[in-house]
């Protein structure tokens, strides 16, 4: 059964908030279709002084999605991803002349593959009352992750829909060359999440959604491939064994006439490592003649540093310390453009994103250097087939 257009929207509006790797209920509400995407991700050379292999990270990704009804009330969604990654990785930071940080990159080029699959099953009880269960498995040579999730969408009245759910993931890491570099042999990490959202139809052309999420991670949360300069020695990256995070997200959609729509998204988060972040996104969907669609978008992100982050540490520091650039204070501005063209059952898409990061973008500035923040360019293309 193909949902009516209004039902599709209601399903989308109510399902709303799901994870970045778990099939969304609004995917499952759009009828039978198959999609393929090819992405190329390429990092810029570091702007800060660095030592080691200068070839930065490149990722070639392929994604495949099949979305199909099962009976009158159920939808099955299968999503597969394969990535090939190569390039040098930030390793540790040493103090240079005048204590300016010098980033040391891994000497040997890392080459790895990641394969992931998600299967999601959605049952619709009628209207936009749906329940989705999903499972994901992801595998790299040194990293395995398995996750289970469930979510419910419950209409409260004709305008208001409640969504809620939870998930659990278990990750296992077995680092390369553990003996050679004195890395941990193997370790585990668990993540538990709970989330809830309310979506509200404001009027005939606009809808808003607000949601909260809580995550709690336990286990080995350090990066076994990173080290830290502590005085005159190099020590393993060492982080606390638990991390709690709360996030608040608001999304707004507004139609302008018959051919355009505005998307505004915001996200605020805080975690128990002392980091706060703000994300703002805006996109404009413009339909053009002949089945073409142009979608420009911008994104801004800012985060504060974790309380145990510094480029390098004085002797006697600890017990937790990390020089991982992802834990420092920085911000990023990004712009993207996507072009789509529908021809019969087929739909072609292509686009690009430019992402530029730096400590200067951080709200309130950064009180310590972060020499390995990443700027990158992505290009992507895809093809969808709609069966109905």
């Amino acid at each position: 059964m193909r949902p009516s257009p209004s039902l599709s929207l209601l399903l989308a509006a109510s399902a709303a908030l799901t994870g970045h790797n778990v099939a969304r209920a609004d995917e499952t509400s759009s009828g039978q279709y198959a999609g393929y995407r090819f992405n190329v991700y390429s990092e810029d050379a570091l702007s800060a002084p660095s030592l080691g292999d200068p070839r930065r990270y490149e990722v070639y990704s392929q994604q495949f999605l099949l979305n199909t009804p099962v009976g009158d009330r159920n939808t099955l969604s299968v999503n597969a991803t394969h990535e090939v990654m190569s390039g040098s990785s930030p390793w540790y930071v040493i103090p240079g002349p005048d204590n300016k940080p010098i980033q040391v990159l891994s000497g040997a080029t890392i080459r790895d593959h990641r394969s992931a699959a998600t299967v999601a099953f959605t049952h619709a009880r009628g209207g936009n009352d749906t329940t989705t269960v999903s499972t994901t498995y992801s595998q790299e040579r040194d990293y395995h992750s398995a996750a289970l999730g469930a979510e419910r969408s419950l209409p409260l009245n004709s305008a208001l829909t409640l969504g809620f759910g939870g998930s659990f993931s278990h990750d296992r890491i077995e680092p390369f060359e553990a003996n050679l570099y004195d890395r941990i042999q193997r370790a585990k990490k668990n993540t538990t999440s709970a989330f809830a959202s309310l979506s509200l139809v404001l009027d005939r052309v606009s809808v808003v959604e607000s949601g909260i999420q809580f995550n709690y991670q336990t286990g080995y949360l350090s990066d076994p491939y990173k080290q830290v300069s502590v005085g005159d020695t190099l020590d393993p990256d060492t982080r606390p064994g638990g991390r709690g995070e709360a996030a608040w997200l608001v999304r707004y959609r507004r139609a302008f006439g018959e051919n355009a729509a505005l998307h505004l998204d915001s996200r605020l988060s805080a975690n128990s490592w002392g980091q706060h972040s703000l994300t703002l996104e805006a996109s404009w969907y413009q339909s053009l003649r002949g089945g073409w669609q142009l979608i420009p978008g911008v994104r801004y992100y800012s985060q504060s540093r974790a309380r145990f982050y510094a480029p390098f540490f004085a002797a006697g520091s600890g017990p937790d310390f990390s020089s991982d650039y992802r834990l420092g204070a920085f911000g990023a501005a990004a712009a993207n453009l996507n072009l789509r063209k529908r021809v019969g059952h087929w739909e072609f898409s292509a686009g690009a994103e430019r992402y530029h990061a730096g400590t200067g973008y951080a709200i309130g500035g950064a009180d310590s250097a972060d020499p390995a923040v990443v700027s990158y360019t992505r290009v992507f293309a895809g093809l969808d087939y709609h069966f109905d």
């Binding site: 257009p5 908030l17 994604q63 790299e140 004709s158 959609r253 729509a261």
Partner: protein, 87 residues
């Protein structure tokens, strides 16, 4: 003495949190008052593909994976899992 000071600090934190909750509730009420009743036959524009939360789920997943692997606190609201692919 020390426990009284702790208690006062805790009370202040709870009051502060309650103020935020009340402010958000007031905002939500204002939002509710601002809505119009929209009948099912008036939802044509709301039902369009470009009005979905994520019109292209494959692209949205890849975007989130790129941000998640390079930023310390990013990620959409939703279920966790899916591996790293980080460096």
């Amino acid at each position: 003495m020390r426990s009284n000071a702790k208690l006062r600090r805790s009370s202040r934190r709870i009051e502060h949190a309650l103020r935020w909750v009340l402010a958000l509730a007031a905002l939500a009420c204002l939002g509710g008052c601002a809505t119009q009743t929209v009948q099912p036959w008036q939802r044509g524009r709301l039902a369009r593909w470009d009005m979905r939360w994520d019109p292209d789920p494959l692209q949205a997943a890849m975007n989130q994976h790129a941000y998640f692997s390079k930023e310390g606190t990013s990620g959409e609201i939703g279920a966790a899992g899916g591996g790293c692919g980080c460096n």
